[in-house]
Amino acid sequence: MSLVMDILTICAVSAGALFFLAGTVGLLRFPDTLTRLHALTKVDNLGLGLIVLGLLPQTSSLLFAVKLVIVWLLVQLSGAVVTQLIAGAVRHHGADG
């Protein structure tokens, strides 16, 4: 049973790390602010989500698991809002405003 859990952890965390890598490449390579933001939000949602999902089988108590999920939700919230704010600022003032 614990082997299955460990395999699940390794797969999910690796997939999450891959999203972080892809998001970072996107941040560096994409041409303008909006597409860069697009790449970043993928990292927040899917990358961190997969890592949290992978860590859940390794938690010792339910409380700890709930804390992990709350961290993911809060990061998602802040990521989504900050992205909206930056995108709004770009639309109003242009990319260097």
Binding site: V81, Q84, L85, G88
Partner: protein
Amino acid sequence: MSIASVFDIALVALILTIGASAILVRTAFAAVVMFVVYGLLLSMAWVRLHAVDVALTEAAIGGGMTGLLLLGAVARSRSVNVDSVRVGYPLRLAAGALCALVVAGLAIPILHPPEAIPTLAPTVMENLPPSGLGNPVAGVLFVFRALDTLLEKVVLLLALLGVWSLAPDHAWGGTPGLQVYARPDPTLIFLAQLLPPVGIVFGIYMCWVGAKGPGGAFQGGTVLAAMWLLVIVAGLQRAPAIGRLWLRGLLVTGPVLFLVIGLAGWVFADAFLAYPAGYAKPLIVAVEAALTLSIAVALGMLAAGPPVRAQQQ
């Protein structure tokens, strides 16, 4: 080499790079952004050193609050175009030499550590149980070095007085001019309605848990201040006029309660800032709760800046 030490070396390299770029970038705004990133990375370093209390303080104060104050300073100095101001070479040389002196002073004990590193940690752990506290950091702050903690909070009030004294005469007692957005932004309003309930519970929890685990008045107070500022910045609530009695009352509640309990220690426990046997923990928790409120209000008002408008009747 283990994965942990690879991580540590990468972290140190990253901290040095970010620190260097905070100095080297051309614009003040970019330097502040680097400074905030630097603070967050530094708090990760503290976690690696198992100093979670310091990590929380660094993330909350060093990264978050100081970053916000610096951003406010950059925004206020836009009118004088701070990036075009050139500092003369003598001043730069003096700043560089002083920084080098500090680094050298820090480097000497690290590169040549004494045979037996002086530590008070065993003494602290030995004398902690009578206080009823589980967190040695809280023990040092509120039992062994309570005077330092008390004075630290008074310094915070003095800093706020310093900011307030920048007010023009006609605005004295009026409302601070914290205004980031010209018109209310629906996304920000959404966040300011959604996040504070979570943040306020979290801030109170951090203060409460400080007696037995990492956390405490400063960290909890910073989270509360952040929630308050979020509501103000989103335009849901105006910053209060600094002449308000409730505001001034909240500001001094923590230090005054601390001082009263400290003075009572002379009567009931034979020394200033000593706690009567058996009452240490409840008294410390009461002081921490009051301090959390005072710190939250003080930090919030520090970030809100000096008053710019006369109080509206």
